[in-house]
Point group: C2
Chain length 467, copies 2
C-alpha cells in the first residue's frame, strides 16, 4: 500500500514543523512540505507523528497473570508466577495477542518477547506467539526464555539449600530446541525475529551462554537476557563468580551491540564501563522494578557513560499494565530523584528518542527503522492532538510523555502496513478479543500458591529481613 | 433521585461479594444481596463498586500549563509557572472544569483545589472555580492559595539576595480577602467547601498562619498547606526557625485533624511523630515529586507511625496528568524500593482505602463519606470489569491499582447524583469542552520565561550544583 500523510506535526531541531510524509510499500519515501499525493491520503492535521516505540522487554504469557500476584520481591514473586503460568499453547497465543494489542495502542510497533515456553511444547509455544504477532501486525522479536539450571539455582546460598532436582533438560537438549526454533521461525522479512534469550546467569550455565553466543553469531541473532535485577542476584554473582556478573558475561563473549539486558539495576561503575565498551543496550523497566521493589536502575549514569538505554514494560505479572507511554513517563521522571542536577534529567524529547531509536538500536535495527528518515521502514504512529488528554496546546511531546494520554493513538503503521486507524485496531477485533478473555475466567478465584512456602523463610533470613 | 445498583462486585474481608446497593437522595440506604428494586435500576453485574477517591492536592489553573514547563526542580519550575499563569477568571473556570473532568474520569469524586488566585480578582477566581465544580458535579474543597511574603522569600539565603519588593498585600488584607471568600462561597450543603490554604511556611508569616488558624477554628474549616517539598525548603526552615518547620507549625497551632499537608518529603522521625500526634494528614503526590525531583516522601514510615496518608495528583504543571488511578499506582509501588521488607509494602487494597477513606479523613469528612457504608453519602464509582484493561479476571482491585486502566470508569455518583453514566460525563459535554480548549490555542508556541534567569545561577550555587 501507498499512503500520503498530510500536514502531520513532527519534532524538529528547534520545535515542531508541519510536513507531508509519503509511505511506499514498507518504507518512508519522502518527508517535506506540500508533497504530491501518492496512494491513499491520510489527513494528519493536528496530529503528532513519531516513530514507533520498542517495548524492549516483556513476557507475553504473563498476560494471564495481570492483577494476580501479590506484592512480593522478585525471588518470591517468581515462585508464584511459576505456580500459575498457563500451560496451553492457545493461552500463549492469546497472551501474545493481548500484549501486542496493548503495546500498539500505546505507541509501540515492536516488541521483545522474552517468551516463556511450555515444557514439552517449546516449538508450539513459539508458533503460537509468532502466529499472534503476524495476525495483529506488530514487529516482534521472540527470545525463548531458556535455562539449564533448576529454579532454586537462582537463589543465593542459604536459600537454595532446598531439596531440588537437576533441570530436566541438558544444556545440549536446550540448545537443540533453540536450533529448531531458529530454523523454523526466524523470518525477519516477515517481521518475526528469533533472538537468543537465556533467562540470566542465575539459572544458566556458562556452556549455555556460550552455545547461544555461537548460535547468535552463526545466524546474526539478537541476544537478550535478564541482568542483575535484584540485590539477591548480586549476592549470587559474588558467590558464583567471585565478582561481577557483567565481567563474567563479557568474558563469555555474550555482550555485544546485539545484546539487550533487561533491568541492569545492581551494576557498579566498572560494570557500566563494560556495557559502554561492548555497546550493549540496557532495557529499563521502571514500573516492574518498582512493583517488585528491585531498585532504581542507574539510568542517568548509563546515559552519561554513553550506554544505549531503551524502555520496556516487562510482563503483565510485574507491571500489570503494558502501556509504553506509562513505561516511558515513569522510566524517565523516576531518575529525577536520583540526581539533584536537573541538567542531567531525561527530557521528554530525549525519552521518545530512547523509546524509538534507542529501542531499535537494542534489537540491532537502528539502521532500518526507529526515526523519521527517508528510506527507513515505516513504523509510524499518529497521536491525536485534539484528544482531551493532550490538551491544551502547549508542547505535544511533553504532553505525551509527562501527561497520562488516554486513547491518544490515532493511527499506526508497522513496516508500512496500517494496523490502527481512527484509534481502532484493524487487524484484530478488540471487542471480540476482550469477550474471549472474559469468557475464559470463572469469576475471581483466589489462586493457590505452593512454591513460595518452600522458599520464603530462607529468603527472609538470607536477605536480613526479620523472621 | 433513587437508584438500585444490582449485582455489583464489592471488596469484603476475604475477597469479593456480589451485592445490591440502594441510593436514596444523597445517601447509601442499603447494601446486601437481592434487595428490592427502588427507583432506577442500574445493572452493575461485572462491575466493581468502590467509594470515590479524593484528589487530595491539586492546583486547577495549572490545567493551562500541562505540557508546558521544562524539567526543573520546584524552585526554578515555580518561576516558570508564575511567568505563565493565566490571568483571566474564565481560564480559572475552564481549568477547574478540566481538572474535575480528569479526576472524575479516573475515580475521584472529591478534589482539594489549592487554588491560585488572580491578583485583584481573588473573589472572581474562587467564584469561577466554584461555578465549575457545581456544574460538573464534583465535591470540592477550594483552598485559596495565599501568602504574605514575596516570591523570593521562599528561597534560602544566597538565592534570595535578589532585588525584591515586599508582598503587595498586607497580612490583614490577605486575611480580609479570606474572610470574604468564606462568607460568600463556603457552602458544604452544596458540596463546595472553603479551606484555609497558606501556600507554606516559606512564603507565609506566622501572623498569617495564626489568622488562618483562627478563621479555621471559628468556621470549622479544613486547613491545607505545602510542607517541606524540597531540600531547599528544609534549608530555609533551618535558617528561619533554627530547626523543624513541623515543630514550628505545631507551635503555631496549625496542625490538627483538619489539616492536610501536601508533599511532606523532608521530614525526620521527630517530625513524623508530630504529624501522628496532631492527627494531621499527609497528601502524597508521587508523580509531581518525581517530575520535580523533589524526593520520595517517607510514606511507609508515615503508615507505620499511624499518620493518615492520602493521594493527590498535584497541579497539571508538575504532573501533566490528573489521573487518580495513576497517582495511586505510582504513589504506592514507588515505596517498594525504599524498604526491602515487602511485608511493609502498600497493597492495592490498602491503596484504595488510602485514596478513599484516607482522602476523606484528610478533609474531615470520614464520618460522612469515603466507604461503602449504609448511611454514608453516596460518592460511588463503578468500574467496568469487561474493559480490556481490566482483564483477565484475576483480582479486580489489583487490576485497577497495578494496571493501567483506560476508560474503565463506567458510572460515578457524587452525593447521590449520577455524573458519569456509560463512561460518559452527564453534566458537561466533554467533546465540546475539548474543542473549546483546542480553539484557545494558536499552535505550539515557545513560551518566554524571564524570572528563572534572575534565580538560576544563585540556586545552583546554594544547592551545590556545578556552575
Amino acid at each position: 500500500m501507498t499512503y500520503t500523510l498530510r500536514s502531520a506535526l513532527v519534532p524538529v531541531e528547534d520545535g515542531y514543523a508541519t510536513v507531508d510524509v509519503q509511505i511506499e510499500v514498507d518504507r518512508i519515501a519522502a518527508i517535506g512540505p506540500d508533497l504530491p499525493l501518492v496512494g491513499t491520503a491520510i489527513e494528519a492535521e493536528n496530529k503528532l507523528l513519531l516513530p514507533g516505540f520498542v517495548n524492549g522487554h516483556t513476557h507475553s504469557p504473563q498476560f494471564w497473570q495481570r492483577g494476580l500476584i501479590p506484592q512480593l520481591p522478585l525471588e518470591l514473586w517468581l515462585a508464584d508466577v511459576f505456580d500459575t503460568s498457563p500451560t496451553e499453547a492457545e493461552k500463549t497465543y492469546l497472551g501474545a495477542l493481548g500484549t501486542a494489542i496493548h503495546t500498539l495502542l500505546s505507541g509501540g510497533t515492536c516488541i521483545m518477547d522474552h517468551l516463556y515456553l511450555i515444557a514439552g511444547q517449546e516449538l508450539e509455544s513459539v508458533a503460537a506467539a509468532a502466529r499472534a504477532y503476524k495476525e495483529v501486525g506488530i514487529r516482534a522479536f521472540i527470545a525463548p526464555l531458556i535455562q539449564d539450571l533448576p529454579f532454586v539455582a537462582g537463589y543465593p546460598e542459604g536459600v537454595k539449600t532446598l531439596p531440588h532436582q537437576p533441570y530436566p533438560q541438558s544444556t545440549e537438549d536446550v540448545l537443540a530446541i533453540m536450533e529448531a526454533i531458529v530454523a523454523q521461525f526466524h523470518a525477519p522479512d516477515d517481521g518475526i525475529h528469533i533472538a537468543v534469550g537465556p533467562t540470566g546467569f542465575h539459572r544458566c550455565s556458562d556452556a549455555l551462554f556460550e552455545g547461544l553466543r555461537d548460535l547468535s553469531d552463526r545466524r546474526n541473532l539478537c541476544r537478550h537476557t535478564h541482568l542483575l535485577e535484584t540485590r539477591s542476584q548480586k549476592i549470587l554473582a559474588q558467590e558464583r563468580f567471585g565478582g561481577s556478573a557483567v565481567r563474567h558475561l563479557q568474558q563469555l563473549g555474550f555482550l555485544d551491540h546485539r545484546t539487550s539486558l533487561a533491568h541492569s539495576i545492581w551494576l557498579d561503575d566498572a560494570d557500566i564501563d563494560i556495557l559502554a565498551e561492548t555497546k550493549s543496550t540496557v532495557v529499563h523497566n521502571a514500573l516492574s522494578n518498582l512493583r517488585l521493589g528491585s531498585g532504581i536502575a542507574p539510568v542517568l549514569k548509563y546515559l552519561q557513560a554513553g550506554v544505549n538505554v531503551a524502555f520496556g514494560c516487562d510482563g503483565f505479572a510485574s507491571n500489570d499494565g503494558q502501556d509504553m507511554l506509562e513505561a516511558i513517563k515513569i522510566g524517565s521522571i523516576l531518575h529525577n530523584v536520583t540526581d539533584p542536577d536537573y541538567q542531567h534529567w531525561i527530557t521528554p524529547h530525549k525519552a521518545v528518542e530512547m523509546a524509538a531509536i534507542g529501542g531499535f538500536t537494542g534489537v540491532n535495527l537502528a539502521d532500518q527503522v526507529g526515526s523519521l528518515t527517508v528510506g527507513k521502514q515505516a513504523d509510524l504512529v499518529l497521536y491525536d492532538l485534539k484528544n482531551l488528554s493532550l490538551l491544551p496546546r502547549t508542547d505535544p511531546i511533553k504532553l505525551l510523555v509527562l501527561g497520562r494520554p488516554h486513547a491518544a493513538v490515532e493511527s499506526v503503521w508497522v513496516r508500512g502496513r496500517q494496523v490502527i486507524s481512527g484509534g481502532t485496531l484493524q487487524t484484530v477485533d478488540t471487542a471480540q478479543f476482550s469477550q474471549t478473555i472474559f469468557n475464559d475466567g470463572t469469576g475471581y478465584p483466589t489462586p493457590h500458591y505452593k512454591t513460595i512456602h518452600q522458599v520464603e523463610a530462607h529468603y527472609r533470613r538470607v536477605m536480613g529481613l526479620s523472621e
